[in-house]
Symmetry: C3
Subunit: 204 residues, 3 copies
Amino acid sequence: MNFFSLLDLIGTFVFAISGTIAAGEKRLDLFGAAFIGFVTAIGGGTLRDMMIGISPVSWTSSMAYLYVIILAVIITFFLKEQIFRFRRTIFLFDTIGIGVFTIIGVEKALANGINTPVAIIMGILTAVAGGVIRDTLNNEVPQIFKKEIYATACFAGAVVYILLKRFGIQTEANQVATILIIIGIRVISVKQQLGLPRMDFRAQ
Amino acid sequence: MNFFSLLDLIGTFVFAISGTIAAGEKRLDLFGAAFIGFVTAIGGGTLRDMMIGISPVSWTSSMAYLYVIILAVIITFFLKEQIFRFRRTIFLFDTIGIGVFTIIGVEKALANGINTPVAIIMGILTAVAGGVIRDTLNNEVPQIFKKEIYATACFAGAVVYILLKRFGIQTEANQVATILIIIGIRVISVKQQLGLPRMDFRAQ
Amino acid sequence: MNFFSLLDLIGTFVFAISGTIAAGEKRLDLFGAAFIGFVTAIGGGTLRDMMIGISPVSWTSSMAYLYVIILAVIITFFLKEQIFRFRRTIFLFDTIGIGVFTIIGVEKALANGINTPVAIIMGILTAVAGGVIRDTLNNEVPQIFKKEIYATACFAGAVVYILLKRFGIQTEANQVATILIIIGIRVISVKQQLGLPRMDFRAQ
């Protein structure tokens, strides 16, 4: 297993934690937590695979994802206090996770003959759809539709990744650069409380 | 590009507007609006393609859909007042859109070996699923489950389309007839405030 | 048609009833009821098929499912009182339904080269995803995330089924044993008001 695959598993782990925490906020039971933890972690990649025609979907062929998710759900379920203590670390790895997921989404799309603009969308979708499904199952409007520059960071990362790839930059260097850009944009936007402009179409 | 393809793009455009407006009612940010606009426009066709086995899903192979959706989101986001002024026109093109989407859904299903009753369902699904996903992401019970004869118009249109096709009517004439029937049913039901019978299973 | 296929159709019928009842609790119209009844009945199998690559998805190739679902929706819509009178019978057949759906999910996954742990997940998903989609469309947190040992019964059933299969038990005997175990676990958990431990991550 190379370093990028390790980051992928860490991203999966942290996404499953975020799903389990969200389930806990609604006082769900262990199954609800496991279900939401699971779909948060694999939802984006699953949707991408179903849309571009990779079947069976990627996570089903490796046991590693499954075990990492189960581990994340159990740890979060039983070690609530510790999870909260590590929330800065979790935030960091969550951001690394969206970087890794964006890159994987772009690469899988391109490898399956998808054109570049749609591949960028598939990268973003891989990173954000799990969280969208998590919040929807939890009966909330998805958080990323309302705050911080989360998807925008994925978009910027996907564009940079494809540009550097075209310039012939070596894959590992490109991965690191892309992830650093996504981390940079997200950390700055959270610290500065930057967000995208919001709409207001409420009935007047 | 023939006239029917043009109507398809206009339908896509108007569906994306309706998604963006819905996002605005929840005060979402630009990304949330783009996401919901996007899935409203391509959600029905995507679900249909994944269910009948067209991969990659149709919208990914043509850039036209993507650009039309982005245009619709940007216009709606920045020209709120104008959008409201054109709401009758939007309603008309939305209705043309569900007609076109119904026909495309029926045709793609039949072309992929799906039997007639299921092809009718695929036609309806292509037309309505985007709106269902839009409202679900927006944390609302889908509007079309509660008011006006929206899906019923698609159902009637799909049945008429298949019958006329069997009678050997020329495709373009059939498309026009089907869309006119869908427009007719919807406009009359909205004007007369007709709706389907509603259930009431609330705890007594 | 063998006895197992009959149970599958009865399960489909009862799932569609549960979807229609849920729609009635939100005062939806006939189309809303039909839509939710439909996705409750076929949602789990559809998701499973899309994830493991069966296309078109299974229910589209047999008219029986479609007719059974339409029948269930119409009966529930017009015979509300009678439906409530039979609620114990419905509960029993709902439980038989999740047993049948779990077995079908496991078998289809294994037949498509999915490994055993993921096949167990596909069995659970086939049984529970329809209900999850039903509640999500109805703008509720899925019931099975909060009460009784529903998914756990499917999990136990899937494990038992695979074990007995490995021990070379004849398929029909294995099906009966698996369904009885799922019924047993669910009935006992409902009677004893057993549930899984719940989380509580609400902000303090």
